[in-house]
Amino acid sequence: MSTDILTISEAAALIKAGKLSPVELTEMCLSRVKAFEPELHAFVTLTEDRARADAKKAEAQIKASGPTSPLHGIPIGLKDIIDTKGILTTCQSAHNIGNIPDTDATCAAALDAAGTVLMGKLTTHEFADGGPSFDLPWPPSRNPWNTQRFTAGSSSGTGAAVAAGLVLGGLGTDTGGSIRGPAALCGIVGLKPTYGLVSRAGVAPAAYSLDHIGPMAWTTEDCALMLQALAGHDPADPASANRAVPDYTAGLGKGAKGLKVGVLSRWHETDRPVAPAVKAGIDAAIAAYDSLGAEIVEIKLSAMHEYNAAGFFISTVERGAAYERMMLKNPEKFGQRYRDRLVFAALCTGMDYVQALRRRRELIAEMAAAMAGVDVLLTAGNPDEAPPIDQVPRWDNLDKPNFTMAFNLTGMPAICVPAGFGPNGLPISIQLAARPFAEAMLLRAAHAFEQATAWRDRRPDMLGLAKAA
């Protein structure tokens, strides 16, 4: 069997043309799961029987009347904080051992309705926070580019599974960068949509006003295809926006000519200077946009620390509120890292929280004003290549600002796109952000950059082992 890994759009074209069956495609993915999962730990629960049943059902439907969507018959995975009817949903926590939901989360149901093949539930940090933990019932996921390296988190299993081709796409959640971080370190594309665009109903909260659900896939086009199935109003989510859903693929292929790209140099040069390879990737991206006919302008915002400070108090206190009862009743069931995060919630006051909300109001206004004059903002996705998994700082949310939280705080859509490799052969990334609900523009700009580079042609070396075998 070939170990070539298809993108969603490539597989969809072959399925539509009758040259590939969902059953065959699913077996390809399952064979890679068998080969690499023992090293990657990307799955909490592999739903092999469900995947084969979904694939057979899709195959029969497609034979009878053709595919109903580009996702019909496509193997995907879901981060294990997303409820799935009749399937263990652990949040990677001893608190949830044996938790089998009665219903699907809205986002899971949307992908099911689009005809996807559910391969399983993917590794996360405990309740989507805290970092790689070795004291939980399941091990942390490993990076396919080097299994001694961190995937970032908390959508760590989704990042690893997509990069290794165990699934063609997956869902992550993002409260401070949990889609974009793993995308950056695993060398894939991760899109955090606008707050309210994708329903959070049926997804375990991390921090209510910062939580987002979004697609992770090999290409921007694949993310667009997934977002098309996910976006839309859901009365079950109090934050869900009720507005028309545009065609997210409409701008793909239109290039970047005439776009205005705002560069947030201060963030990656001064506030948190990035590694030389990341800086080179950003500079190459700026040059690529310039050569594609985009206008490059410098954008000045408050220090990244300001966005992170407000985000820290909001996320910490909202997380504490969400899991207070568990913390008071059975704190020993949490892993050390997550338990420490909950302890910090006790150290924050109500006044801290309100002042952070007030600061958020100012920072949203500031960023909205800056974005009014550009189509996308550009900065780093992550400051460096993936660190060794056993050297991830315990207080990384306190120590230095990250490049992703600002867009959780403001709710604006942001995407991480591969931008090369560092000296250790590991992926580096750029991050683009856009105005609220401007995902079509964001995807267009990301796609233009992606098409101008060859970074999508390279997969993790470990996959070559299967060919040799």
Partner: protein, 62 residues
């Protein structure tokens, strides 16, 4: 540079929340608390009336 919290003050906050931590863990968290203080100083600044965390009924587009 912000100062970290005293053991006694730290214990008061934990007691208020009904949470207990081991002595060793408390020392580590006390040292990390200094970073929290630095962020607190950023958010707890005087702000204008327009920074009110207002809620909105039936916002346009929803």
């Amino acid at each position: 540079m912000s100062e970290t919290i005293s053991t006694e003050a730290f214990q008061v906050l934990l007691d208020r929340a009904g949470i207990s931590v081991s002595p060793a863990n408390m020392e580590e968290m006390r040292s990390a608390y200094m970073m929290l203080q630095a962020m607190r100083e950023r958010v707890r600044q005087p702000r204008g009336y327009d920074a009110e965390p207002a809620h909105i009924f039936a916002p346009a587009g929803r």
